[in-house]
Amino acid sequence: MESRETIAAIATGMGNAGIGIVRISGDDAVAVADRVFKGKNNKKLTNSRSHMAHYGHIYDGEELIDEALVLVMKAPNTYTREDVVEIDCHGGAYVTRRILELVLKNGARAAEPGEFTKRAFLNGRIDLAQAEAVIDVINAKNNYALKSSVSMLNGKLSTEIKKIREELIYNIAFIEAALDDPEHISLDNFVDKLDNFVDKWINAVDKLLTSVDNGKIFTEGVRTVILGKPNAGKSSLLNTLLGEERAIVTDIAGTTRDTLEEQINVHGIILKLIDTAGIRQTEDIVEKLGVDKSRRFAKDADLIIYVVDSSTELDDNDMDIISMINEGVAGKVIVLLNKSDLAARTTENDIKSYIDCPVINISAKEQEGIDELEKKLEEMFLGGELSYNDEIMITRARQKDALRRAKESLELVKDGIAMAVPEDLLTIDLMNGYEELGKIIGESVEEDLVNEIFSKFCMGK
């Protein structure tokens, strides 16, 4: 909470191509940066004067990751009033994230939402008015982060984590029960069993780490929903967008058919299409609007593409969609006037009298206007109106961090067992592992252990 651990996060918006900045703050900021950065003259950042930029390369061990400009700013004249290092890199979102992960692996901890600002405030750098504005963000983000980190997890993986945790807490509780009630519960030969368990857990955590790397846990992109009445042309639009030459179609493991998600890469911008199954199968998205799920998707999406059939007049279905949009949605809206190849019964002005948003004429059938749509998307993206949900990446980095720490704790248990360390000390690292895994699925520890002891083991007096 108020610790001065060294923290790190990506400081730039996630999607922006070009430069990405990883910011590190805390006592060890410079030391952490030194571990991943090789300067042009092999000079150590530790010896750098404050507020100096250094050119060089970021390495993961021997592997070159990116060239980078590193800015060293020493306390107290920094945003947080702690030592701050900023790594400017060029390789886009993926590389920026890689560098963040690298920094986390080398001693920094993933920053909580708003944590830089919190430190800035607590260290007297900014005033209360500024800080209060930040607090609202922290509150909102904390709630969101918890929700999203859990909801973004694929069900199978969270089940896996829960399983490891259940076994962990059972074994910890067994040790604790035996310590508290040695005359009723014996630990004889228990360590051998525990050793096998620890191997199994380390193995399982390793697998999880790999799957995070492969991106199987969650996908990134602008969460996009396509709306429109039946026959407005959603399917053809989708097919056009998914056209072979520029589409990446991902079938995300572990998701069921009806919540199939697909990704489209538009000039490097990834649109994550949500709830497309309905569009492709039945075109019944309007009917489904009555269903909470679809409405919620639309409300929370980063982008709504609303397809209007310009060859017909706006009908009840359209009015439903329009009123939903006007009630307030989280993301941006683009209206596509489809069927520009046919005579127009609905015009741009008709739409604009209801909704204030960009309107583009297209013909999905003739593939006209698609370029204009893509240009518009790019424009919105670079202008910052549209962005990736950066929580996803941050959450992902944080979860990887937690998995790695869990693994480290379990390895310490192994070491301890090898060193014949008494069981009551092994529980320290077992518990740390349990806590780290809990962070991933958003579960706190609180009274878990005591409850487990009482419910699973018969304590006597």
């Binding site: 108020e2 607090i135 310590l179 040695p182 009551d424």
Partner: protein, 626 residues
């Protein structure tokens, strides 16, 4: 009834159990005129349940109490009949001393100490009312007979006596433990003061006649060969003595069948008992129901003292009717012909909700009213004693105009116990456990004197002489660790031969003696022959040196965690804070904070329902107020 008696005291202690005795002794020893009330002078320091003191984590509490100047450790050292260090094969953090007491001798000895303490008056009477002025400052107490005792502080140590009811089968009587008179009037007085009253229950097994037991069918359990005292003031040589044995036997399917067949006659299951019982010390019927897959449960047969034939049947507390008790006990090997002296029974009693207390154990809303022991929703003699001591000390500190003694979670099990009680809402009697202490590697029973003597000395309960000895010990420990870390040895033939003899890996390069001690197969004693300059040191110094070197890595990690923890503990929240003024707090958190009035950010963060985001909001608010 008119007042016909009025007296003046500084402090009134209500109750003379383990909490009351410690509270009374602390206040009197600090020079305050103290009067202790009990419903029966015969029941002073009574042990109405198990015949032992200490045990896992409870042993730690007694050691800590001793280091602060309490009496329980000294008293059990004088009156034990068997002693055992539990968990001695495990890590030093969980070694725990437990002694079987001669119950009546324990009581008698404590009574003698109380009776010979200056400034302390013992009075047999039932306190029926608590007197305050209109600002809820304590002004005195009134007994059932109408006598008024003026005072400035009251410490409630009523144990299980408030509206106590004992139950077995369909028999119930409104009495305290062992058929003693209950205190039936004080509850209403507390309610009038706005104090919430809850109802808890606990239970105890039967006492049986030693002559009716066939010990040949049981496993004999001996005490330790070398007896370690509880009190740091007791010379180990003075207490090596002949010990009595306990015996172990087991229940079986027959026992369990009798219990299951008669569950409908158990007041626990028929709903006759409303109080909430503890999960950790379940009655035998609870165990049989909840752990149905276990085919046997242990029964420890323990003597109640040297001069009685009564034996305690540990592990078989019950509230079944007496005919069922007889039937089930008689299925247990060795108890086939057992004769019951006292029935097992469950007891229900009124207690307060300790979240209404400050960490000093003073009520937040009644000034000068303190409370310690089982009335606070804890269980166990040791838990009671330490609370009594802290409540007594803090009543005295208040009257002396001094700061209260508050131990935090990184300083003592006592700190963990009290913090849990006053911060976490518990719906069952609270028992101390080593797993509740986050920093247990630092809070060992062997270093309680090093941790707490300075505090006891500052309070005034530890003499200058005793304190000086502890500081001397600390110096010796530090010097020896420093020496061992700096003496380097290399791979000479002598060393190589020594290591081979101890199945220890040979040296590649020079290491310090401390590095060798860290090896699992070696320790301080083992390397004596390599350590040419070693000077003789007391055993307790050697013990500390060994532990500190061997577990250095783990200890340092915990110390770092403590540093982190302390930062939040030190951020105090002003008592006059208005949580309505703190923007952005969630509603639930705001209500919880208003109710609990936590003293520090650290305590606030442990309240369930207060999230990390709320803590950030609170931190920002506090900073802005500065």
């Amino acid at each position: 009834m008119g007042n016909y008696l009025e007296e003046n005291y500084d402090v009134v202690i209500v109750g003379a159990g383990h909490a009351g005795c410690e509270a009374a002794l602390a206040c009197a020893r600090l020079g305050l005129e103290t009067i202790m009330f009990t419903v029966s002078v015969e029941s002073i320091a009574l042990m109405p349940c198990n015949p032992n003191i200490g045990g896992s984590s409870k042993g730690h509490l007694v050691r800590e109490l001793d280091a602060l100047g309490g009496e329980m450790g000294k008293n059990i050292d004088k009156t034990f009949i068997q002693s055992k260090m539990l968990n001695s094969s495990k890590g030093p953090a969980v070694h725990s001393l437990r002694a079987q007491a001669d119950k009546s001798e324990y009581s008698r000895q404590m009574r003698r100490t109380l009776e010979n303490t200056e400034h302390l008056t013992i009075r047999q009477a039932e306190v029926a009312d608590i007197l305050t002025d209109e600002d809820k400052n304590i002004t005195g107490v009134k007994t059932f007979s109408g006598a008024v005792y003026h005072c400035r502080a009251v410490v409630l140590c009523t144990g299980t006596y408030l509206k106590a009811r004992c139950i077995y089968g369909d028999v119930s009587s409104y009495t305290g433990p062992n058929g003693l008179q209950a205190a039936n009037h004080l509850t209403d007085a507390l309610k009038r003061l706005g104090i919430e009253i809850r109802r808890f229950k606990t239970g105890t097994p039967a006492r049986v006649d030693r002559r009716s037991i066939d010990f040949s069918k049981m496993e004999e359990q001996f005490g330790d060969k070398r007896i370690v005292p509880f009190s740091f003031t007791t010379n180990p040589e003075d207490i090596q003595k002949e010990q009595v044995s306990c015996y172990l036997t087991y229940t079986n399917e027959k026992t369990h069948k009798i219990i299951r067949d008669n569950l409908d006659r158990s007041p626990l299951y028929s709903g006759k008992i409303e109080g909430t019982g503890p999960r950790y010390c379940p009655s035998i019927e609870d165990k049989v129901v909840r752990f149905a897959d276990k085919d046997r449960h242990q029964v420890f047969v323990e003597p109640e003292g040297n001069y009685t034939n009564e034996m305690y049947l540990g592990g078989m507390s019950s509230s079944l009717p007496e005919d069922v008790q007889y039937a089930m006990y008689r299925t247990v090997p060795g108890l086939e012909n057992v004769k019951i002296v006292r029935n097992a029974y469950a007891i229900e009693y009124d207690c307060i909700n300790p979240v209404e207390l400050k960490a000093s154990l003073e009520f937040k809303n009644v000034h000068g009213l303190f409370s310690g022991g089982q009335i606070n929703g804890s269980s166990g003699y040791e838990e009671a004693a330490v609370q009594g001591l802290i409540a007594g000390i803090n009543a005295a500190m208040k009257l002396l105009g001094r700061e209260p003694l508050i131990l935090d979670r990184s300083e003592a099990y006592i700190g963990v116990l009290i913090d849990d009680l006053v911060t976490k809402e518990s719906s069952e009697p609270y028992r101390m456990m080593t797993s509740r202490a986050e920093y247990r590697l630092l809070l060992r029973q062997d270093n309680a004197d090093l941790r707490l003597s300075a505090k006891g000395h500052e309070i005034g309960l530890i003499s200058d002489e005793r304190y000086a000895k502890v500081e001397e010990k600390r110096k010796e420990i530090d010097a020896e660790i420093k020496r061992l870390s700096s003496v380097m040895i290399g791979g000479t033939s002598e060393v190589t031969e020594f290591l081979a003899r101890h199945n220890s890996t040979a040296l590649n390069n020079g290491v310090s003696l401390a590095d060798l001690i860290k090896r699992p197969e070696l320790d301080y004693e083992a390397i004596a022959e390599l350590d040419k300059d070693r000077k003789p040191l007391p055993w307790d110094v050697i013990e500390q040196v060994n532990i500190n070197i061997k577990y250095q890595g783990y200890i340092e990690r915990e110390l770092r965690q403590v540093e982190h923890f302390k930062k939040l503990e030190k951020k105090l929240i002003p008592e006059d804070i208005d949580y309505d003024e703190v923007g952005s707090l969630r509603l639930e958190a705001r209500q919880k904070l208003k109710n609990f009035k936590p003293r520090s950010i650290g305590q606030a963060s442990r309240i369930s329902g207060v999230s990390p985001a709320d803590i950030t909001v609170l931190l920002v608010y506090l900073e802005s107020r500065r």
